[in-house]
């Protein structure tokens, strides 16, 4: 009897969990089927549109399109990974001109939707399309993580007092993580060849866990700081955030990743030097503009890799370091400086 009682309980909790998996939606219903109305729909990865991360950056790009291009914009916040295709389909069925999908996890659903709705322009943020399988109505916004890593690596090398810098990373089996790390190394060596660099990867757990282990990230950062490292680059989701917290506890400088982490890890604000950034907002807007003008082409498009403002550390970064960093960024953009990092681990 006890067993039956237990199974009834388990079934009930499963039902509750299922009910929670619906989507929230904001809409004011313009007529998107008219050609003069440019409708943009944005589907977030699991999470909210003001997540202070990629969802928010992409939405800011859409907001700019609203202001400058007169676009009608809407979003759907995905609450469950199972709903990606459904949410994308909702916008396509309502005759939106462009659909933005945010994040690597939506790549598959976006590619399928691009085939199913050939009249809709799709923009996939941070979704690399496999070579040879590019679709004419799907533009993927991709980023050279090695360039962003290069810039913050160079900055760290110029700012460090001990001559030792470190990076706490998720696993190198994930190519973007590896490119951040190798870019960091290349950038630091570029400005200071004799610098000591420690890269530690969290490769002792699976890919599903490597980004969500802040305890490991912090422990690793503390261990680095014990050995004289005074700037820690944390790149790997929540694992990297743990490293930023470790740096904050010991008063070492920290460098965030992907977006400006001054907003996402408030506990580390006072030590955050900068963040290696993917300018998702700019890239999304540029692609929406092209789509509006009917000039958007399919394939992978390189977005801008940059670094975040220095915030609390602004006064501690010397002017010549700032100007050198700007020169490096320009060099990376026009190709006169190369990171020499291959796309995947060799």
């Amino acid at each position: 009897m006890s067993r039956r009682r237990f199974f009834v309980g388990a079934a009930l909790s499963a039902v509750v969990a299922l009910l929670a998996g619906c989507s929230s939606r904001k809409s004011d219903r313009p007529d998107c089927s008219k050609p003069e109305v440019f409708c943009v729909g944005l589907v977030t990865d699991v999470g909210k549109v003001d997540d202070k991360s990629f969802n928010q950056s992409a939405w800011e790009g859409a907001l700019r399109a609203q202001k400058e291009l007169g676009a009608v914009i809407q979003y759907i916040e995905t609450t469950d990974a199972k709903d990606y295709a459904k949410n994308i389909g909702t916008f396509a069925e309502e005759h939106h001109d462009a659909v933005v999908t945010v994040g690597y996890a939506l790549a598959e659903a976006t590619q399928a939707a691009a085939v199913r709705y050939p009249d809709v322009k799709f923009i996939g943020v941070d979704q690399l399309q496999p070579a040879g399988a590019e679709k004419a109505n799907l533009a993927s916004l991709v980023f050279a993580e090695d360039k962003a890593g290069f810039l913050v690596g160079a900055l760290a090398a110029m700012v460090t007092k001990s001559g030792k810098i470190g990076a706490v990373m998720a696993t190198d089996a994930v190519p973007p993580v590896w490119r951040y790390g190798e870019g960091f190394r290349a950038g630091a060596r570029h400005v200071k060849p004799e610098i000591e660099i420690s890269l530690v990867y969290h490769s002792d757990v699976g890919i599903d866990r490597t980004f969500t282990d802040p305890e490991w990230g912090k422990t690793t950062a503390l261990s680095m700081i014990d050995k004289g490292v005074d700037i820690v680059f944390g790149a790997g989701g929540k694992t990297g955030n743990g490293a930023l917290l470790g740096a904050a506890e010991k008063g070492a400088l920290a460098i965030g990743v992907d977006t400006d982490q001054y907003a996402t890890v408030p506990e580390a604000q006072k030590v955050l030097l900068t963040s290696a950034m993917k300018r998702v907002d700019e890239g999304t807007f540029d692609l929406l503009k092209l789509a509006r003008e009917g000039k958007m082409q399919g394939g992978n498009l390189q977005g801008k890799a940059s670094y975040a403002p220095f915030h609390d550390q602004e006064s501690k970064v010397p002017a010549e370091v700032k100007s050198r960093l700007e020169a490096l960024e320009k060099g990376l953009m026009d190709g006169s400086i190369k990171t020499s990092v291959p796309p995947t681990k060799t």
Partner: protein
């Protein structure tokens, strides 16, 4: 713990620490590496120690507890949520919020212990199943509540995670922490220090008190214990609830002592490594602690080997791969469990429901 086993543990830890010092030798003073290794080892070993103590308490009374992982995960969540509520909703100062969080973690661990005791003692469900149920329940419950409370607009904080009260402060042990070089070892946080203290307390309680003798009797031969007037069920309830509280404190380590945030599945299998530590420690508190230190040192070594990757000689180049170095803790677990250290003996009535 026998002297042979103690020697073996000391040897392994010494080898692991020595390997790190060797790898870092040209760049960092050996003493600094050793001190850093020990500090990392103690921190990493904390949840393992508490988890293993939880296992020892339960199994010494004859109840197998596979649910340590789930107990730690849910306590990590409830402790964190409690601290956030205390600081953001009720406006308590950080210290009080954290203390409340720790209390919540211990209570929620104890409640899951109670649930496990009810399943295995009163309803006599297969104890392996009972523990598995707790693990599954914890994953679903924490993921669901985390989303509902902190990530839904309709939640109490409007979908924005409020600013955390931080983590438990590092204690400056007077005298010890001021020592040159080794002082860093003694700058630990409260749960880490409490865990070490609890090893001693659990040892004394199990092997030096009447209550402990009864718990062990119940775990070895419950019928014999019952014939001399011991209340088997009551003792099993007590031990398992106590075990839950210990795992709860271990869960608090993740979100209240290490980092001020909760992530789904953040205990990352450490509850199962704690089980391995319990077995390796031959169901004794001191042995479990020693085993936790071995795993902690292995974890610390894999971080340090990566730190010093550039200096590893070419003939050892396989150690330059993070994934190979990452295998270390798991390889050690397997080696140790396959009996390198000799036979371990569980309590005779371990896992058997008592129906007297």
């Amino acid at each position: 713990m026998g002297s042979r086993r103690l020697a073996f543990v000391t040897l392994i830890v010494a080898v692991l620490v020595g390997a790190a010092a060797l790898a870092g030798a040209p760049r960092v003073a050996a003493a600094d590496v050793v001190v850093s290794m020990i500090a990392t080892t103690l921190a990493v070993a904390t949840p393992l120690t508490l988890g293993a103590l939880s296992g020892v308490m339960c199994e010494r009374a004859g109840v197998v507890n596979l649910g340590i992982e789930g107990m730690m995960l849910s306590s990590a969540f409830f402790g964190w949520a409690g601290a956030l509520y205390a600081s953001a909703a009720w406006g308590l100062p950080p210290g009080a919020s954290l203390a409340f969080g720790v209390a919540m973690a211990i209570v929620s661990g104890g409640l899951l212990g109670l649930a496990h005791a009810a399943l295995s003692v009163t309803f006599r469900v297969d104890q392996i199943i009972g523990g598995t149920v707790i693990n599954l329940l914890a994953v679903g419950l924490t993921g669901f509540l985390n989303r509902q409370l902190f990530f839904e607009r309709t939640g109490p904080f409007g979908g924005v995670v409020p600013r955390s009260p931080g983590v438990l402060p590092r204690l400056h042990l007077p005298g010890l922490a001021d020592l040159p070089v080794v002082g860093r070892i003694f700058e630990q946080q409260p749960i880490t220090l409490t865990a070490i203290l609890l090893v001693v307390v659990a040892h004394l309680a199990l092997f030096r008190t009447r209550w402990g003798l009864r718990v062990r009797a119940v775990g070895e031969h419950p019928r014999a214990a019952a014939t001399v007037g011991i209340d088997v069920r009551r003792l099993r309830y007590e031990s398992v609830i106590l075990g839950g509280c210990l795992a709860g404190l271990g869960g608090a380590y993740f979100t209240l002592e290490s980092v001020p945030s909760f992530e789904p599945l953040m205990t990352n299998g450490r509850g199962f490594i704690a089980l391995a530590a319990m077995i390796f420690g031959n169901w004794t508190p001191t042995g479990a602690f020693a085993a936790a230190l071995v795993f902690g040192a292995a974890q610390a070594l894999q971080i340090n080997l990566q730190l010093f990757r550039d200096q590893i000689p070419p003939s050892w180049s396989f150690l330059q791969h993070s994934s190979i170095v990452g295998l270390l803790p798991y390889l050690l677990t397997m080696l140790i469990l396959t009996g390198v250290i000799g036979k371990t003996t569980p309590p005779a009535a371990d896992g058997k429901p008592y129906d007297g």
